[in-house]
């Protein structure tokens, strides 16, 4: 589904990620875990194109998207739910979701997606007329994920969905993510600092530290390898 080859990218000359290679297969829930500042957000932005890459190649479903304009990538089915949610705060929930379907033709397919999102997050249906910026953090995360789902994506990139949320809400959000992956067969990449929920949800795992991938593979193998402890505590 997605292949990154030796990606390097950063800010103003200094690389924040170096030679990162990874693969996401259809049906995977891939957890990209690493401490704060490891380069998870940088990696996701390099994939979706909002950050220009210095070196390397990104291939999505057989298409080399390395040089493709970022706004054209969602049309291929690549949805990025950014860190900090970035909902359109001055627009209503319904407007946020409808903008999520920008790449879909108007009409039936949009209605179906909307029904799907409202079914996954019934709270959004209740609040459809509310300005997204006035909602709680958890609700905004639902709007952000819902907005990403509206385009009927093939791959959902989630950046730190737990950020700033109460534990109970985190559990709820992750339950929805697992449902998307296991029940609806959506391919998901979750970048998270938070370990417990992420490891419980994913089937594959990539560990990232100081801009480089230190381990990747099946979840159980990674958990047993001790790579996670090393990334977080430097032992």
């Amino acid at each position: 589904m997605l292949t990154c080859d030796n990606l390097s990218a950063g800010y103003g000359g200094a690389d924040a990620i170096r030679d990162v290679s990874l693969r996401v297969d259809a049906g995977d829930i891939l957890g990209v875990v690493g401490p704060n500042g490891a380069g998870k957000t940088t990696l996701l932005r390099a994939i979706s194109g909002s950050l220009q890459i210095a070196k390397g190649k990104v291939v999505f479903n057989g298409t080399d998207i390395t040089a493709m304009a970022p706004h054209r990538r969602p049309g291929l089915g690549l949805a990025h739910v950014p860190e900090g949610r970035q909902v359109f705060g001055e627009l209503t929930v319904a407007e946020n979701l409808s903008l999520g379907a920008t790449t879909l033709p108007a009409g039936k397919s949009r209605e179906e997606r909307l029904a799907f999102v409202y079914d996954l997050f019934p709270r959004l249906a209740e609040r459809r007329g509310q300005l997204a910026g006035t909602m709680s953090g958890g609700e905004q995360q639902m709007v952000a994920i819902g907005r990403g789902l509206m385009m009927d994506p093939k791959l959902l990139l989630l950046d730190e969905p737990s950020m700033g949320l109460a534990p109970k809400i985190v559990t709820e959000i992750f339950a929805s993510i697992v449902k998307l992956g296991r029940t609806f067969g959506l391919t998901v990449l979750i970048a998270e600092q938070r370990l417990s929920e992420t490891l419980a949800s994913c089937n594959k795992c990539v560990v990232i530290a100081s801009g480089q991938i230190t381990a990747s593979g099946e979840r159980e193998a990674i958990v047993r390898s001790g790579a996670i402890e090393e990334a977080y505590f430097g032992t």
Partner: protein, 314 residues
Amino acid sequence: MADIEAFLQQLVPAIAMGCVYGALCAALSLVFGIMRVVNFAQGEFITAGMYFGVMLVLFLASFLQFNSFALALVAAILAFPVFFCFGVFLHKMLLSHVSGMKVIETTRDGGHQAQLIVTLGISLLLQNVFLMMFGSRPQSITSDISSQAWALGTNDLMIFVNKGRVIVTIIVVAVVFLMYQFLRKTDLGARMRGAADKPTAATYVGIDVDRHYGIAFGLSCGITALVGVLMATFYPVGPFVGFEFIIVLYAGVVLGGMGSFIGAFWGGLTIGVIQQMASLIVPLQLQNVLVFLIFLTLLVLRPQGFFGNNAARL
């Protein structure tokens, strides 16, 4: 009674002028609020619209036997698409290099310094082009309608309202209303608001942010020029007339809440009415001094403007 009559006689044209300012401020807010660009050349877009009107009416009158006010209305309608295209082109050639996605993530100041230089450059260039093409002698569209008035009221309390000004006011308010509905109700309008609110997130849903900023700039130019044509029916145009307006217009935009479209209209209306009424109590030269005194006072009392401070809020 005579006092009230004099006051009303001043107030009615003040509201008419306020609506024109309001429409210009609303157009300005499309650039300021959606693109986050301070466009110093906006005053020259007004001037350009006014000259466009004067010249087109002269040209049309050379072979059409219509009233020149009617011709001005035709010119106003034509100005919109012509200046929309001009705006889209100008954005593509110049402004897109110093605004939008190119600068939002990569520059510390959001590209404001570069924008300042580019838009001031456009402003100076246009002023001199106008001077070369049209000279410094003020010109306007003269018509019978803009010198006729309706009498309102009874013998006890009677005021006169200029026919031309009434028609102009109705048109500019209608234009603002239509634009507001467009931003609120259409998919394109929603995409423009999304691109204004969170440009990077807009990219993630597949919105071409720079293209939508170009459309916003084109719409702003189109509305400004349309209003400019209508202004030429009652206000003489010279090469530097835009400069008289631009600072006052920014005061209106700030008062309306830094980019809210409909807020900018109300802000411009307020500023316009204050400015026009000021001549009742201060000499004409001090009109704008009073405007800014009141503007600063209102800003101290309500720093966020009348309507909050976000473009996407409308």
